[in-house]
């Protein structure tokens, strides 16, 4: 089943789009059409009308975020692209940037124009050396061609873009930690308020956006808000979405699909079905920090609203599928071990609560848990959700999914005195 390709339209297997190809295929037309010709406020309005929501996981409406930004305030302001893609099961930004780095450069230049920003940073995950190199090259090419730097396209608008390689922790994906990391201080998340739009990087107004979000901006600028909304299959949603498939599927690749595509199509058509002909047991619909969906959810349209209503989240749309032989307790323990390891250590529920959850889950796996441990485990999300930032709250996603859909499996661990799937 083929769907219109927008972000992946220029993607060729094994290649990175050069400036030449990018220009040949319509690149930088959006920038040329906007800078000096369209008022920044009009561009912001367009993004607001398009219904674009952040693709980094939280799904906050981009236009609304931009409306809070003091675009006309004097002094330095910053645009930061969050490319610290470290959510387990999520690799869409890497696919996108390795294929088409100029899309981000153009998207950021446009966003900078809309927001009255003159300096931008792309904060790249430590392990993404290929992305880093592709971006550095694209930035140099764009600079040489006058799409970055001073007096872009002969106008008064100037924008400098810097590519920054992270030192490598999951917490840096949290936008305020990222800002601390960029400043060179310990990347603990910051207290909000003040929000980055008021006091962000180096104490100045800052907007932090995901790669995919920014890459959508040139297309919206070129084709309009109505076109963008029309890309979605479900009402109230907008655009396409990059789905990164992983887990027990026959095809674990990244696909651009319309917003609202049913989970069943994702799994059975694009993912080629569950591997070895096994049955679908569960999936993480949007990365490691989203609650599980089960076979009962296969007809849920994959978009922000419908996944919320199904008790989960679209997140980053990194779909990880588990087949029927998976022990969901072990899977959850695996995920929680990641989150506990990646805690920055700032607040108690995350730093000490997550290891405690791991400890409890381990007891289930080893058959050392009783009903007292189950009660304890059930009580944890309420406490851990009081964490300082969203890291530990995200970690509660799979745990809450486990408790909601697989309590029987936990009980089986208790009654059998160990893992029924032969784990641990």
């Amino acid at each position: 089943m083929s769907h219109p390709q927008v972000l992946f339209a220029r993607r060729r297997p094994g290649q990175t789009v050069s400036l030449e190809t990018y220009l040949q295929e319509g690149g930088y037309q959006a920038l040329g059409g906007a800078v000096g010709k369209q008022a920044p406020a009009a561009l912001r309005k367009l993004v607001l009308d398009s219904g674009l929501r952040g693709r980094g996981g939280a799904g906050f409406p981009t236009g609304q975020k931009w409306s809070f930004f003091p675009a006309d305030a004097p002094g330095p302001k910053y645009l930061v692209c969050n490319c610290d893609e470290m959510e387990p099961g999520t690799y869409k930004d890497r696919e996108l940037l390795v294929a088409d780095p100029h899309a981000l450069v153009e998207g950021m230049a446009l966003a900078a124009y809309a927001l009255g920003v003159t300096h931008g940073y792309v904060f790249v995950r430590y392990d993404y050396e290929d992305v880093f190199r592709a971006l550095e090259r694209a930035v140099a090419e764009a600079h040489g061609a006058g799409f970055l730097g001073e007096r872009i396209l002969g106008t008064d608008f100037g924008f400098e873009l810097h590519v920054h390689g992270s030192a490598g922790r999951y917490i840096l994906g949290e936008e305020t930690s990222l800002l601390n990391g960029l400043e060179g201080v310990r990347p603990n998340p910051r207290l909000r308020p003040p929000f980055p739009a008021q006091r962000g990087l180096f104490g100045r107004p800052t907007t932090v956006q995901n790669v995919e979000t920014l890459c959508n901006v040139p297309h919206i600028a070129l084709h309009g808000a109505e076109w963008f909304k029309g890309l979605a299959l479900t009402p109230g949603e907008a655009g396409t979405k990059l789905f990164g498939l992983s887990g027990h599927l026959n095809r674990t690749e990244c696909f651009e699909l319309p917003m609202g595509v049913p989970l069943r199509e994702v799994v059975e058509v694009h993912g080629g079905g569950v591997r070895q002909g096994r049955r679908f047991k569960a999936c993480l619909p949007g990365g490691a920090s989203t609650p599980y969906l089960t076979a009962a959810h296969l007809d849920v349209p994959m978009d922000f609203g419908n996944l919320d209503r199904a008790g989960s989240r679209l997140g980053t749309a990194g779909v990880t599928v588990f087949d029927e032989r998976t022990c969901m307790v072990a899977a959850t323990l695996n995920l929680l071990t990641f989150f506990a390891r990646e805690s920055c250590g700032w607040c108690t529920p995350c730093r000490d609560g997550l290891p405690y959850v791991c400890y409890l889950l381990e007891r289930f796996e080893r058959g050392q848990a009783g009903r007292e441990e189950l009660a304890l485990l059930k009580a944890q999300p309420a406490f851990i959700n009081q964490s300082f930032c969203a890291l530990a709250q995200g970690a509660m996603g799979p745990l809450e999914g486990l408790l909601r859909h697989f309590e029987q499996e936990l009980l089986d661990h208790v009654t059998r005195g160990g893992c029924p799937f032969g784990g641990a």
Partner: protein, 801 residues
């Protein structure tokens, strides 16, 4: 003023206050770890959960992060809130070692209290505990990292509040630790605050490790005697030994914190050589015999030679009451005048300040709240360490700071600096047109103009200075500058570091009187035949020790009242042992004119550690207390005058005779103290002559106080003696090169203060033309009394040291 309801009680709080602070105002303590009044709320521990039941927010929230709003209804006891708090305590206790029986924090441990209060009594975690290696952090602070609950208070204090750089957060996740990159002595002069702010036993006072449980110690509210700022302290004693000092909340003074000199310098009270028995002509006597004999000799001298035959000398170390009692002794002897400080220049500087200060005095809180600071001739680290911390808080809030000083900048905040003596600059600032003095470089002129403009534009400007460098003329110029920068309705304040904790009070009591040089001249001329020194050590504190030694040798009678084994006491005919501040009730007037009382913590006596010869528990039973003879200075002097009084009577007399000290009547130790109502003296201000300059080809020597080792009390405290900096001669690299001297090479220093061979330290921050030494007791620089301002010196390549 939002009004809200907490646990069914209404409270109004200032706008901007948090729910936690609003609850505090009702006397409800919401359990917390990371919140600290001085450090603010950061929301890290997640312990202060409360349920907000009505108002702009709903549900479980952290009380420290929610601003109190009108109409809010808050419950601190809702099941969701108590459940959350219990869970957080359980998380924090997962790895906490159960070593409370051998933990020095036991009994004053916030974690212990919160664990009990939170109802977490049974451990449900059966896993392995996380452990850390500990770091050696020097002689003051002991680290036991396994006890840590990661509240981040230590690093927020050390780095954010105090500006330290060598201590921070290490590691991530459950392995977050706090310490130095490599083990080693903590470099900050405020490192001891880690002990106070740590809510559990990670950082404890190493100097008293395993010495006592908190409930076995005696303590009372006191005032720090180690400089003139008058910081609020709690000294703690056990078995007649002063064990440790911790910070007390002093809203107008230190806030919460202390410098390491104030915290670790209290051991002087336990000094083994401290005078403990009255001694006359080499014989130990009881009080009645000693006092009787001395009274007779003093009276005879007065009869024979007139009231001028007895000289009276005190210092800023003596309490206000003792200084008054010395004045009363002078009256009883027919009107012998009191000299306030053994260093004449210090004496005149303090008297100049007290005479002219009026309402311009500014304390530490004023400095913290200031929006523009000028530090002219102040070296806070040596003279008043906490003043630098107060200034840092102002700068953190956006205040501008400028420094006019030839010495290297060791301040924990950025400031615009002119590396010159401040006198000419202050003189310019005091002139109506404010024109920059001649001889400045262009950048300096610009910096001066900018600072002057900033001071004029500021709403709460404060000029800070140090009496030691400024001297009487500099102090008058600083006062004149402050007056010139003041307008009706907006004064420019002044905060001057003085030599001792009661220098201000002493000068208030005797505004006129001779200085030490006039006293010495009297001795040399044979007019003065006896000298009574109250907690003053002219041999160490006068700039010409040889002259003092010769003069003391001429005396028929030298009486020294002290609790320190000073050089002067060693030469005295009579030594009368007095009590240290922690062993008596008394009062000091701090540098800004605030009268503060302190209470007796314990009674003087030989520590049981000494009398018991180390046996534990001590097995010596006797009806008396060995070494209990020291008496407060005022009591000894009143007895010497033949008119024994009670402290209350003395204070009442003082309040009557000196209306500015009327506040003494109701003075309570541990209270906020009383800001004295001062009027600038109506007397004509003498035009202080400029001090002799330094000739071409000579270097100007500055002898100043160091953080450790210079101040007479802390220099005699064992833990501090171990960390005093090495004796050295600091030169700017250009001067050193001209003299052919390199780093560490011996140089011979000759000056009026004395002669010494010292290793050279290259100090790039030192202005050219200056040489800098720090006086240290017990070394070649002992005689280099600070307080003299720049004097001429000669430096050449030195021989063997």
């Amino acid at each position: 003023m939002p009004t809200l309801t907490i646990d069914e009680r209404e409270v109004s709080v200032p706008a901007g206050a948090s729910v936690l602070e609003a609850a505090e105002a009702l006397g409800i303590t919401v359990p917390h770890f990371c919140y600290h009044k001085a450090l603010g709320a950061v929301g890290a521990c997640r312990l202060c959960a409360v349920e907000i039941q009505a108002g702009p927010q709903h549900g479980l929230r952290m009380a420290c992060l929610v601003e109190a709003r009108d109409g809010m209804v808050v419950s601190t006891t809702a099941p969701a809130a108590t459940g959350m708090r219990r869970a957080v305590i359980e998380y924090l206790m997962l790895n906490h070692p159960h070593d409370c029986p051998v933990c020095d924090e036991g009994g004053e441990c916030q974690l212990q209290d919160m664990t009990v209060a939170g109802g977490h009594g049974v451990r449900r975690y059966r896993g392995k505990k996380r452990t850390f290696p500990n770091q050696e952090l020097g002689p003051f602070v002991e680290q036991e990292m396994n006890r840590c609950i990661q509240c981040y208070r230590c690093v927020r204090t050390y780095r954010d509040y105090a500006g330290g750089h060598d201590f921070g957060v290490l590691g991530v996740r459950q392995r977050v630790a706090y310490g130095r990159f490599r083990p080693g002595r903590l470099e900050s002069p405020y490192s001891g605050n880690l002990v106070d702010v740590c809510p559990t036993g990670v950082f404890t006072d190493k100097t008293v490790r395993f010495r006592a449980r908190v409930w076995d110690m005696q303590c009372a509210p006191s005032v720090c005697p180690h400089c003139s700022l008058g910081c609020a302290t709690w000294p703690w004693a056990r078995y007649r030994e002063l064990l440790r000092v911790s910070g007390r909340e002093g809203p107008r003074t230190n806030g919460f914190f202390l410098c390491d000199r104030g915290r670790f310098g209290s051991g002087h009270a336990n000094h083994p050589d401290r005078p403990r028995t009255p001694r006359l002509d080499g014989r130990e006597l009881g009080w009645p015999e000693a006092l009787e004999a001395l009274r007779e000799r003093l009276t005879k001298l007065t009869w024979a030679h007139g009231p001028g035959a007895v000289g009276l000398l005190t210092s800023g170390r003596a309490s206000l009451e003792s200084a008054r009692a010395l004045g009363l002794l002078g009256q009883a002897l027919g009107g012998a005048p009191v000299v306030c400080e053994p260093h004449p220049r210090r004496d005149r500087a303090v008297r100049a300040l007290v005479a002219e200060l009026g309402q311009l005095g500014r304390d530490q809180e004023d400095v913290r709240q200031s929006d523009c600071l000028l530090l002219a001739g102040l070296d806070p680290e040596g003279e008043a360490p906490m003043l630098a911390l107060a200034a840092r808080q102002a700068v953190r809030r956006g205040a501008r700071a400028a420094v006019w000083d030839p010495r290297p900048d060791r301040l924990p905040f950025p400031a615009r600096r002119i590396a010159r003596l401040p006198e000419a600059l202050l003189e310019a600032l005091a002139r109506p047109d404010g024109r920059a003095p001649d001889g400045l470089e262009a950048a300096e002129r610009e910096s001066y103009a900018e600072t002057r403009a900033a001071l004029q534009a500021a709403e709460r400007p404060v000029l800070l200075g140090g009496a030691d460098l400024l001297g009487p003329r500099g102090v008058r110029l600083l006062l004149a500058a402050a007056r010139a920068l003041s307008r009706p309705g907006r004064a420019c304040g002044l905060s001057l570091a003085l030599p001792g904790p009661d220098s201000f009070g002493g000068a208030l009591l005797c505004p006129d009187g001779p200085d030490a040089d006039e006293l010495l001249a009297g001795i040399e001329a044979g007019r003065v035949r006896a000298l009574v020194c109250l907690e003053a050590d002219p041999l160490s504190e006068h700039p010409d020790p040889a002259r003092v030694a010769a003069a003391l040798g001429r005396l028929e009678l030298l009486v020294v009242l002290d609790h320190l084994p000073t050089a002067s006491a060693a030469r005295a005919h009579a030594v009368l042992p007095t009590t240290a501040a922690a062993e008596m009730d008394g009062a000091f007037v701090n540098h800004a004119g605030r009268l503060q009382g302190f209470a007796r913590v314990y009674s003087a006596g030989l520590p049981i550690r000494v009398t018991g010869q180390g046996a534990h528990p001590p097995r010596e039973f006797r009806p008396d207390t060995p070494g209990e003879l020291p008496q407060p200075g005022w009591a000894v002097l009143a007895a010497l005058a033949g008119e024994p009084v009670e402290l209350g009577e003395l204070r009442a007399e003082l309040a009557r005779s000196e209306p500015r000290l009327a506040g003494l009547a109701g003075l309570v130790a541990g209270g906020p103290g009383v800001q004295l109502a001062l009027e600038p003296s109506a007397r004509e201000r003498p035009d202080t002559p400029a001090e002799p300059g330094v000739a071409e080809g000579e270097l100007a020597l500055l002898s100043v106080e160091a953080l450790f080792g210079s101040e007479p009390l802390s220099a005699r405290a064992a833990p501090v003696a171990g960390v005093a900096s090495e004796d050295a001669l600091a030169l700017c690299p250009a001067d050193a090169a001209r003299l052919g001297l390199g780093e560490g090479e011996p140089a011979r220093l000759r000056s009026a203060l004395g002669e010494a061979v010292l290793p050279v330290r290259l100090a790039p921050g030192l202005a050219p033309g200056f040489a800098l030494v720090q006086r240290r007791f017990g070394g070649p620089l002992e005689g280099f009394a600070p307080g003299g301002g720049p004097i001429a010196c000669r430096i050449e390549k030195g021989g063997a040291r």
